[in-house]
């Protein structure tokens, strides 16, 4: 077992690619995410043998098979729980969870929120395509109300989850959003998530071209991005548009809202502070858009420091073992004994 992470600048994206042929549908957004991650890995200063990708069930969950690292394709929704055990027992490893909106937010919702609140040092990539792909097109917990699918022929009645809002509510210390049409943004956002000590959640808007094609086109389409994506940059005023003509202000009781910069003036814009201890502001930003048809923030919503769970576990263990090797024979005699 490696005690330290060995920087491995000698690898190329190809070294991180397994010999298994990806079996996603042609045109699936998952390909571009896989490519971004494989391109990112050689730059992270981690060794392949110290890297583990875990997943649950769903299209996204095939991801570990395509990475030439250690990997486990587990069962539906449980990857964060399995990752918790692995990260706690092997804090020397770099543990990743790849999940989808159904896996993470429906069947695995409980494990996700608890992994986040415990701040287990894992990086969670949540591929959100707002549909069930592997089971061939039922609505998901992020599908919009009214969604017509095989299981909702009269339209879905369910209020969707906003994964970023959910993660913030679950006491996550790192929450970000990116999308599958912008490799550079994906790589930078995922790199930030990886470098974060503690649980990091990245929602990746991902197009399912078979069952929900174009779900994010209104905001991630090449022609729409500038006007519909609100890049969050720590320490900078929040503004977007071709000329940076729109921005976000904090408006008393109304909360965060989008304005024309010309109307309010640059100085009135909200300066993004991802390190704010209070997640309230990040939550407000997560509510700016009611869905991927309105101007939507991307980037890092929140990145704060809190002790990571495995390190704290090890701290307790170190304190308990400070007295030297514990003796089994003494344990068996730790309660009253008698001789016969």
């Amino acid at each position: 077992m490696a005690d330290v992470l060995v920087p491995d600048p000698t690898t190329t994206p190809k070294d991180w690619s397994s010999d298994q042929e990806p079996r996603w549908c042609p045109g699936c957004g998952d390909y571009s995410i896989l490519k971004a991650v494989q391109m990112l890995m050689p730059t992270l200063g981690v060794a392949r043998e110290d890297t583990v990708f875990l997943s649950g069930i769903g299209c996204a969950a095939r991801f570990p098979y395509y990475m030439d690292t250690y990997g486990m394709h587990t069962i539906h929704g449980r990857a964060p729980a399995i990752a918790t055990g692995l990260a706690m027992s092997r804090p020397d490893l770099d543990v990743w969870v790849v999940t989808g909106d159904g896996d993470a937010l429906s069947i695995g919702g409980n494990h996700l929120i608890h992994a986040l609140r415990r701040n287990v040092d894992i990086t969670i990539l949540l591929f959100n395509n707002q549909i069930y792909g592997l089971t061939k097109g039922q609505y998901s917990p992020t599908s919009e109300i009214g969604k017509v699918t095989k299981s909702t022929p009269f339209g879905s009645l369910d209020q969707p989850f906003n994964p970023v809002s959910l993660a913030l509510g679950a006491e996550a210390t790192f929450v970000a959003r990116t999308h599958d049409m912008d490799r550079a943004h994906m790589m930078e956002t995922i790199r930030r998530a990886h470098d974060h000590k503690g649980a990091a959640l990245v929602e990746v808007y991902q197009n399912c071209n078979v069952f929900n094609d174009g779900a994010f086109e209104a905001i991630t389409g090449r022609a729409n991005r500038e006007s519909m994506l609100i890049p969050l940059r720590h320490g900078e005023p929040i503004r977007f548009g071709a000329e940076g003509e729109r921005g976000v202000v904090l408006d008393g009781q109304a909360g965060a809202r989008i304005v024309d910069v010309a109307e309010v003036g640059e100085d009135a814009l909200l300066v993004h502070d991802e390190a704010r201890d209070d997640p309230g502001l990040a939550f407000m930003l997560s509510r700016l858009a009611s869905g991927p048809h309105e101007a939507t923030p991307i980037g890092v919503f929140r990145a704060v420091e809190r002790p990571d769970y495995a390190a704290e576990t090890d701290r307790q263990l170190a304190a308990a073992t400070a007295g030297g090797d514990a003796d089994l024979a003494s344990l068996l005699r730790s309660r009253p004994t008698w001789e016969v």
Partner: protein
Amino acid sequence: MAATDREVAEPGPNAEPVEIDRVIIRVAGDSGDGMQLTGDRFTSASALLGNDIATLPDFPAEIRAPAGTLAGVSAFQVQISDHEITTPGDRPDVLVVMNPAALRKELGRLDPGGTLLVNTDAFDERNLTKAGYRTDPLGDGSLDGYRLFEVPMTSLTKEAVQPLGVKPRDAERSKNFFALGLLSWMYTRPLEPTVTWVESRFGSKPSVRDANLAALRAGHAFGETAELFDHPYRVKPASLASGTYTNVTGNTALAWGLIAASRLSGLPVFLGSYPITPASDILHELSRHKEFGIRTLQAEDEIAGIGSAIGASFGGHLGVTTTSGPGLALKSEALGLAVSLELPLVVIDIQRGGPSTGLPTKTEASDLLQAMYGRHGESPVPVVAARSPSHCFAAAIEAARIALRYRTPVILLSDGYLANGSEPWRLPDVADLPDISVPFATEPNHTGPDGEAVFWPYLRDPETLARPWAVPGTPGLEHRIGGLEKEDGSGNISYEPSNHELMTERRAAKVAGIAHDIAPVTLTGDVDGADLLVLGWGSTWGAIDGGVERSRARGLRVAHAHLTHLNPFPPNLGEVLAAHPRVLVPEMNLGQLSRLVRAEYLVDARAVTKVRGVPFTASEIEDAIVKEMGA
């Protein structure tokens, strides 16, 4: 029946103790009366005296049912003996009741002539009504057949602690120590172990400590001075095998067995567990022992409990999860994953009455078929069962040994009776415990198409059929595993029909092959030519042992075989069954082992069943044997 020497009358309170060979005492009161503590302390003091002991805590699921009601009665039974015993006894010789509800609920267990100690202070109209008495049983003659001792325990306790300035309400709480003191006098138990325990337990609450000690001494003094009792009794130390003994419950022994398994395998233990009765004490005990490098996670649910343990096993730790029946049901999908991943994992099920929430605090052994078959697909899992509280230690090591050597999840079955029951345990010499270490894979094990060295995660050991265990952090052995069917050898995803059949058969053969690596089943009783074999598993061991001995004393030829390994069965089980014209299978369920045995060996094994939340008594087993033999 125990010889309590009821005939001896005469001298006064300071008479010499009369020797008896054993006694069964049952204390019962309200859930808040501290009956479990009273029983536990009496047991500990008796253990230190060198008696053989066996206990049966019997408490309600409610933490505090309404005071004074039948639902709230909590009882503790202990048998102490000067010879080896295996059960807490069939029927008590002495019943101590702290209130009318306890009397009403428990009296039926006491034979006429039995000793009945009653806390008269609790017999007021309110409590009598709550218990459903129309007239006071202390005054209506209904208890005439018993040796009744009426003791105002509450008021005597209050009197004893009054000089300490303890509030009356707090004073009343110490009345269980008065009862303990009185019992200690009656059976000549020394007070010192209890005094030491009280001082350490209540050290931070001096007023509680002092009140309890005062009540304890007052109870003892009452026995000595009151003219109620003819004389105390003495139960001599049992002639047990020489060695160092301690008193353990099953759950403690299990936790210690896991710690031992960690030492013997050289692997850290990771426990992922969700609190559930009656398994939580294992989580509690392991959480205390971080000095052994034990990691514990109180998971968000049962599934995360097993999930995190699987993750730890993948990382090279000994993954363990503990639960009871409902939790095992929740874990079944993840257990199937562990079967498919072929990773070591110990799953401990402390069985309780079911289905559903069932009887959370009452014992049953009805999860055998769930352990065997409670997963989808062909999903073989080795199953090991503990037979007594102290045997939980060895059973935990054995479960870990199989899990590690064969890279498989193993289910270890205990139950509520073993979990909370206790017995003296002759401590093993740590040096004699088995080495259960297994090597991790460190090198590639196969040659790829281009002559390169590659690692195949599903290339099996030809002897054990176990796959290599390569843990993350090992360069060159990066691999992916998962719940999808894997190609034999390479472990790559495969939907090939013949491959699935092959892998299904391999997984089955691996588990079946463990039969060659476990001890053959042995017989006790009439080991040669018995007319009847009693086949048992789990916590019925003590009662069967007692029942078989009593039947043999009647002249019947009976043998007893007890299974630790339920899957696979010991290699000689078929032969043993075939050698006996009749086979009886007592079980705390409706006949689960008997069904397995009938299917596997085509023998007419007859089930003797009990699902009443309490263990079999030896006499019930004896009766079943006698009936079966037509004697």
